[in-house]
Symmetry: C2
Subunit: 324 residues, 2 copies
């Protein structure tokens, strides 16, 4: 297989240009120094997220899955603000030794993911780097918008899925645990999906007061939301996945840690005005999507706590932090 | 001095958040998963450019200058399309061993540059990486827009400055040549500036038919423009800087190579309808900016050639290409 050092940047750019297309309103077109579009009716929402191979890619993840993950991280940020993805742009750093076939796998994942989220890749920049780096910029639109601020005492706190699957899947991959019976957990770690529709339902319902995605882990994301909104949180019903419970018992891992201190689950954590809960729940049912009540927004002085093993305990602030 | 591995990501994010501000129309605000804005009157132009330390930073460049360069590369892409920078977003990869003071120098350069181009940094993402990576996304607006396509046979080809200074400055830095008398060349290599005003004058004049920035070198950029516009180019008056000529004579470097095969000069290369040349020239004079006629757009079959040492010679297609 041909190395990218043999075919050079121009061939890679040519490949990328054959796979992307410009926004319909663009005058500049693809392959230029910049890209333009007109978007008059709605609010534009931008997000950016960098995937670094050495820190963000678990053992056992294929290059296609890496491409999916790069787009998914950025799509999830848009989702958590209630935005609908329109376009993605990307800056890619590649090591010289990478095979062109490997690059095409990476790109395939990115392209599939962009389409899955109803967006399209409109521009790219390729660079030589010591490891694979994929920076993805998401450009979305929204009529109504969610932020991390806005949660109020008395609001219901809910999530779009159960927790612990990705962190359990990562443990299986990293520690070489037998996969039998737990393939769903590995799938969660290798093929995460952003909750785009859920974010839009929440924003447009008019009852969501704050929202964040859980990519830094449930605990840390709860802290981020609570700090931005200046509130406390009491998790009365931890969102424990049944299979994760079985996995933790079988291998004697802390269920609490798997649920609260995992990461990269890309679920949404949202606060909802109590009078709107039934309506929001109905909207989700109608769209065949999950929304699970896990607790309540409380006074800031109460901090963040969890009802666990028959008592209320403080939730420690820790999770994945770069550099440390 | 404190290493970033000692203070951790959160402190760096806190530092960045204290230095950035949201678009005025933003509801989300800074420090969230994404950022929003409303821009109803004009066309939105986006560009992205990744700076990778090991390939894009010459010996002798300070971290503040690296920050400036990262923003400048992206600003130059906006400039070449006639867009006015509004906002910048950035994804930063940092090695654990970097000192916090060093990071602050880097950021200072980015922030100064963003302000210099009348834009502001509105969002960022920090990551751990093996080397310094700065991906910068530029968000600009434009009433009229320029692309690489659109040059027509008979158009005048012009540039916003003379060439060879950056490539000469790089030679001085890399080969340890005495700096006396040539400090301006080093300055050119270490402190490049994007031609924002020039791009807007050109776009709004109504007479520019195509434009590209020269960051890949004059020769390669001419090829890009010619290929996109399906034309040929004849450079009758090569834009040779006087000091570069002196430098090339003194140290016996090829003047032709310094002028055509340097890179990262961030000048604009533009084609102008002949009937508008006088008007465009006057606009530039009024704004105290340089525009220099260097040749003409010719038929595609003539290829790209240069009048050099009393004869017309073909311009070879080479320049900085990643991976090769």
């Amino acid at each position: 297989m041909v190395k990218i050092s043999e075919i050079g940047e121009k061939e890679i750019v040519k490949y990328i240009l054959s796979k992307i297309s410009a926004p319909e309103t663009s005058l500049i077109g693809i392959g230029d120094d910049a890209i333009d579009f007109i978007e008059k009716k709605e609010r534009i929402v931008l997000s950016v997220d960098m995937l670094v191979f050495s820190t963000d890619v678990p053992k056992g993840m294929s290059l296609k899955q890496v491409g999916w993950k790069a787009i998914t991280s950025t799509a999830s940020d848009l989702a958590s603000k209630g935005a609908k993805p329109l376009y993605f742009m990307t800056s890619i750093g590649l090591p010289r030794s990478l095979k062109f076939e490997e690059f095409k796998e990476l790109w395939k994942g990115m392209n599939e993911a962009a389409k899955f989220y109803n967006g399209k890749i409109i521009a790219g920049d390729t660079n030589e780097a010591k490891e694979i780096i994929i920076d993805v910029i998401g450009i979305g639109i929204a009529k109504k918008i969610l932020s991390r601020k806005g949660a109020k005492e008395g609001d219901i706190i809910a999530v779009t899925g159960l927790f612990g699957k990705s962190s359990s899947g990562l443990k299986i991959l990293l520690e070489g645990i037998r996969k039998e019976g737990f393939k769903e957990l590995i799938n969660s770690a290798l093929n995460p999906r952003a909750k785009i529709i859920e974010g839009q339902i929440l924003a447009n319902s008019g009852y969501a007061s704050a929202c964040i995605d859980s990519s830094d882990g449930l605990a840390l994301s709860l802290y981020e939301l609570a700090e931005a909104s200046k509130v406390g949180i009491y998790i009365t019903h931890p969102p424990i996945d049944k299979l994760v419970e079985k996995f933790s018992r079988k291998y004697d891992f802390s269920l609490f840690d798997l649920v609260f201190y995992g990461g990269e689950e890309y679920e949404l954590i949202v606060t909802i005005k109590p009078e709107g809960w039934k309506y929001v729940k109905k909207l989700f049912e109608k769209n065949n999507k999950k929304i699970i009540k896990i607790g309540n927004v409380v006074n800031r002085n109460e901090g963040i706590s969890v009802y666990w093993e028959n008592k209320r305990r403080a939730l420690e602030k820790r999770g994945w932090i770069h550099f440390k």
